[in-house]
Amino acid sequence: MNTFEKILARASGKKIVEPNEIVEANIDMAMIHDLTGPLTIDSFRKIGEKKIWDPEKIVTIFDHLVPANTIRAASLHKTIREFVEEQNIKNFYDVGHGGICHQVFHERGHARPGELIVGADSHTCTYGALGAFATGIGSTEMAAVLATGKMWFKVPKAIKIEVSGKFRNLVTPKDLILYVIGEIGEGGATYMGMEFVGETIDEMSIDGRLTICNMTVEAGAKTGIVPADNKTNEYVKERTDRSFTLVKSDTDAVFEKIVNVDSSSIVPQVACPSSVDNVKPASDIETEVNQVFIGSCTNGRMEDLRLAAKILKGKKIKPGVRMIVTPASQDIYTRAMKEGLLEIFVNCGGVVTNATCGPCLGGHLGLLAPGEVCLATSNRNFIGRMGSPKSEVYLASPATAAASALAGKIVDPTLQ
């Protein structure tokens, strides 16, 4: 079996499972945030269950509208706080105590290799970077999980992405995943699991693996995974007391498709409006930008901020360009402050925000006016994603974003 099949078999109490088989599985961990939580709670109450299945297994994180920007948002937060109190949920990260759910969840030790994790957010697939089977679900489905601790799954077919070679200077895991999505297409992995293996992945940091698994849903995948290795083991061991098992695909595991990528041939990539598979080399694009956003659950981690700061240090962003930098968690914020990265961003003319989803979903801050263009390190460039339906979003790596903020237009950082 492959990693996806092994994890689903274990969680559903079976020896073997096969693609397309429907199984009922026990959920190891579940996550809700401030935008999907209230609907989950409302549905949970309607089901008529008094107590959630296991308060130790629910993680609640505020990140989408943080701190609350409207009375409505404040009321959503209040609803969740009351539920957390009532249900005795200990793993609760309120405003100022966490940051973006897809960083906080594993940073605080809630994701472990081999586990089956569901979250009421599509980018829950991020935790696949730690060898877990993690996937996004809707609010009503989450209410059913809170009530029963179980959920049905169709065992996914799997695609293996084998990545060889070494990245060129200033080429990053973001460029790799944009390249892969450009190759297989926006619906190219629908209902499937994407397993990443090979020399490049072995060498890659946990931060980089989180970036690639985060974006697997943009190819339609149910989830992505990097089978756990020593790096995963070290990262997780530092953060949890619970035992876990490192799961790897068998040598005779079946994959629907194998995609080979040579990372040394990849140049900086940009996903152009308005789909994530509309990918071109950064050097082919010269579009002027009004805003640059460095942050999100895709690229708001230490490695991302360090890379952007290296390019921006001692320079000024182009007049007329706004740059917003958002560390992904309070922990990253503190570390970036100690390393002097935040000072670099402020000195070059950027705005540093608190740890939040922020501009990525066009709901809270940093919105775009009609006709404006943003280059963002986040994961979606859909029509109206970051504000006006008449604005445009391009997606790229933190290196491309930083170099483009300096140039006032989209540029290839390796050619500057």
Binding site: W152, G362, R380, R385
Partner: protein, 162 residues
């Protein structure tokens, strides 16, 4: 369960951000959400489907965010069923869970024009375009999901004390 309605048609890769833009996610009342259904692509949509409609999507319908507010907005605006070439998985599950029938049929968008009268037998997987007098066979909705739909959604299905 047989569903009838006029077709309203969209293309490939219609994502949940255009079905319900992020700025409306603070809304809770389904009727309020319904006023903004498809706001990212067709602001007049709620007026077009008010009296009931079958939404025809292309490939990968409902991709993107897991926001259940997207299918809720469609359901309460008047959409009776979503018929697409294929769905993004979270959107598909969300539809069934909130009691909005969703069914897949390959190449269907080539065979239905906006405004055509459509009839869908969910259990048999038979789609009829009455305007063009054509029928299509697809995989029926699996029995255990039909059971959820027949109850009106997952909440009703799981409700205690019934």
């Amino acid at each position: 369960m047989i569903i009838k309605g006029k077709a309203i048609k969209f293309g490939n890769n219609i994502n949940t951000d255009v079905i319900l833009p992020g700025k409306y996610l603070e809304l809770i009342d389904p009727k309020e959400l319904a006023k903004h259904a498809m706001a990212g692509i067709d602001p007049d949509f709620p007026n077009k489907v008010r009296d009931g409609a079958v939404l025809i999507g292309g490939k990968n319908f409902g991709c993107g965010s897991s926001r259940e507010q997207a299918p809720i907005a469609l359901k309460y605006s008047g959409v009776k069923c979503v018929l697409a070439e294929y769905f993004a998985r979270i959107f598909y599950r969300n539809c069934i869970n909130i009691g909005l029938p969703a069914i897949e049929c390959e190449n269907i968008s080539k065979n239905i024009e906006e405004g055509d009268s459509i009839s869908i037998d969910l259990e048999k997987g038979i789609i009829r375009n009455e305007t063009q007098d054509k029928s299509f066979k697809t995989n029926p909705i699996p029995e255990f999901l039909m059971a959820i739909l027949q109850k009106g959604g997952l909440i009703e299905y799981l409700k205690k004390g019934d």
